[in-house]
């Protein structure tokens, strides 16, 4: 076990991208246990790329990603598996395996990664499902669940191995406001347990205001503002203000086809 105040996630000066196009440029932030850090930014700001870097799917060109003090991208094979076992990820589309029941989905990582009796694994999976309010839905197939239930089942699977770091990709995307709010409450509830650091990637203002302890705002792959939510919200940059006040930026607004057609060519 690591020291209680050591960050569970430490992203240090990460530069990453696809091909020769950089998407992230010198991104740094850290997350401690019992804390919710929200990563915000518009479409194309590099949020998803950042998540892919954190879970080890994309190697950064420069910089390091430390999970519970260990560098994900420097490790290989079993060592890397051991590091990633500290990470749980709740995917935007829940990403449940459609050919298995909900319970089998949650029990899968437990059975594969821990040497336990299948019935113990099933009980642990049922505990996780009961934790997210799906105690009676374990025998259903993913296709029989509603969108909100599917997200919660995905969350139960993400929590299966007792991760130190829990990542959420757009938790409330595609959910109605009430279901989205319920999911936010669940995230807050998990934070209270104090054992996990939580990163939420989102652009839902309501959700940000409810759950964020700290915020990291990305724009064009750079960290525009970072710190406690209040500080980020008060940041003078027009892009931050536009985001929080739901305005369009002046450069994007106004240039419509009619004006273009009326203007002399």
């Amino acid at each position: 076990m690591s020291a209680p105040d050591e960050p569970v996630l430490d992203v240090q000066h990460v530069v990453a991208g696809y091909g020769d196009r950089p998407v992230l440029d010198d991104v740094s932030f850290s997350v401690r246990r019992g804390e919710i850090v929200v990563v915000l930014g518009g479409s194309g700001s590099g949020k998803s790329t950042l998540l892919r870097c954190i879970v080890g799917l994309l190697a950064p060109w420069k910089g390091r990603v430390l999970i519970v003090g260990r560098d994900v991208h420097a490790a290989h094979g079993r060592e890397r598996e051991a590091i990633l076992r500290n990470v749980g990820m709740s995917f935007q589309s829940a990403a449940l395996l459609n050919s298995m029941t909900v319970l089998e989905n949650v029990a899968l990582p437990i059975l594969e990664h821990c040497n336990v009796d299948p019935r113990t694994a099933a009980m642990l999976a049922r505990m996780r499902l009961a934790r997210v309010g799906l105690a009676r839905d374990g025998d259903k197939m993913p296709s029989e669940l509603s969108g909100g239930m599917r997200k919660r089942a995905g969350l139960a699977r993400a929590m299966a191995l007792d991760p130190s770091l829990l990542l959420f990709d757009e938790p409330s995307a595609g959910l109605d406001p009430i279901t989205g709010r319920e999911l936010d409450d669940l995230i807050l509830d998990l934070k209270k347990e104090g054992t996990m650091g939580i990163v939420v990637v989102t652009h839902e203002l309501g959700s940000i205001n409810t759950i964020a302890d700290r915020a990291v705002m990305l724009a064009d792959g750079r960290v525009l503002a970072s710190g406690p939510l209040e500080e980020v919200r008060a940041h003078p940059d027009p892009r931050v203000q536009a985001f929080f006040n739901r305005q369009t930026l002046a450069e994007h607004a106004g240039a419509d086809l009619v004006t273009a057609l009326e203007r002399p060519a």
Binding site: R119, T120, M127, R131, R136, E193
Partner: protein
């Protein structure tokens, strides 16, 4: 009557063995006496240990023991916080109909499937009945399907048929030589190819190549709500998706069968001339003399029936996909299996009818 509670100590390390030992301790108690498990030693247990403890409680309760926890320390309390108490509620077993009820449910399902198939065929025929004009067949899509099914399928059909012709000639020659009737290889190859083998080979290849593709493509469209979207736009899937595929199959299957005939007869001829030493001219005139138009026609009739089977099976399986990507896989497999099965049943029935008629 409730007896005095029995107190048991939870072991500090709950491994699989100690949990099983605790469970057998619980089961050793009389049913009437509540069993209280003292958890004092379990402060901040790993989550697997908590799962084992809950299993002991559940198994104990299932066996009729009143198992409870006492002295729950804060670490364990935190582990259990927020978990829905429904976890230990007995699950309502899904009710499966039995006996006559199951038979009835099965019959209702079958009737529903039958209704859907009839409706699908009816809707498609309605489109095919008025092939031209605003609400007629989509000809561009039909031609695209014809390319996929017919043109792209030709090489494999020709190759397989050629080899079947070769094999028929080689096997037949063994037997016919004994009677000095080697020239009848020509009859054997030509008649068995055109009456039976060519339509069946074509059907099996097309069911595997195109029937599966139809089921998979339409199934994926169902899963991603594309079919719903089309219907919402008042675009009929029968006109846009089903009719072009059925029509393409109806046109291309007979053509592929003709190609298969030619390739098979060529394969027979090649073997007869090269390795059996029969005269090329004699083989050809024997074929022309004994192969009747009715033989070829009966094969073509079969190929049209097979086209309808493969088309409607693929479309039906695809449009009735349930349960996401896994459902698409099942539908694709089912479409190939069902079409090949039905084609072979159909060929038996048609052959019997044709022989009875002559």
């Amino acid at each position: 009557m409730h007896g005095q509670p029995v107190e048991l100590q939870a072991p500090p390390e709950l491994s699989e063995q100690t949990a099983n030992a605790l469970l057998s301790d619980v089961l050793r108690q009389e049913r009437a006496r509540p069993v209280v498990v003292d958890c004092r030693s379990l402060d901040d247990p790993p989550v697997i240990a908590v799962a084992r403890l809950l299993r002991v409680i559940e198994d104990g309760r299932r066996a009729g023991r009143d198992v409870r926890l006492a002295q729950v320390p804060p670490g364990l309390r935190r582990r259990l916080a927020g978990i829905d108490a429904d976890l230990l509620a007995p699950a309502d077993a899904p009710k499966r109909p039995r006996g006559f009820a199951a038979l009835g449910a099965w019959a209702l399902d079958a009737a529903e499937a039958g209704r859907r198939i009839v409706q699908l065929i009816g809707d498609t025929l309605r489109v095919l009945a008025r092939p031209f004009g605003q609400s007629g067949v989509k000809w561009d899509r039909t031609i695209e399907q014809m390319t996929l099914i017919g043109v792209r399928g030709t090489p494999i059909v020709v190759f397989i048929s050629f080899l079947v012709g070769v094999v028929l000639a080689l096997n037949g020659a063994q037997q016919l030589r004994n009677f000095g009737a080697s020239i009848y290889i020509a009859n054997l190859v030509a008649i068995s190819m055109s009456r039976e083998m060519a339509p069946l080979i074509t059907a099996i290849v097309v069911a595997g190549r195109s029937g599966s593709a139809i089921a998979a493509e339409l199934g994926t469209m169902v899963v991603s709500e594309e079919i719903d979207a089309m219907q919402t736009m008042a675009l009929s899937p029968e006109r846009f998706l089903v009719a072009p595929r059925i029509l393409a199959l109806l046109c291309m299957m007979p053509l592929l069968t003709v190609a298969s005939n030619a390739a098979g007869i060529f394969g027979g001829w090649l073997i007869a001339v090269t390795s059996l030493g029969l005269p090329s001219q004699g083989y050809i005139s024997q074929t022309v003399q004994w192969l009747y138009v009715s033989d070829v026609l009966s094969g073509l009739v079969k190929s049209v029936v097979f086209a309808l089977i493969i088309g409607f099976v693929g479309v039906y399986r695809g449009l009735n996909v349930r349960g996401g990507p896994a459902g698409v896989g099942l539908a694709t497999t089912a479409s190939v299996v069902t079409s090949i099965l039905l084609c072979i049943v159909a060929t038996a029935v048609i052959t019997a009818i044709l022989y009875a008629a002559t």
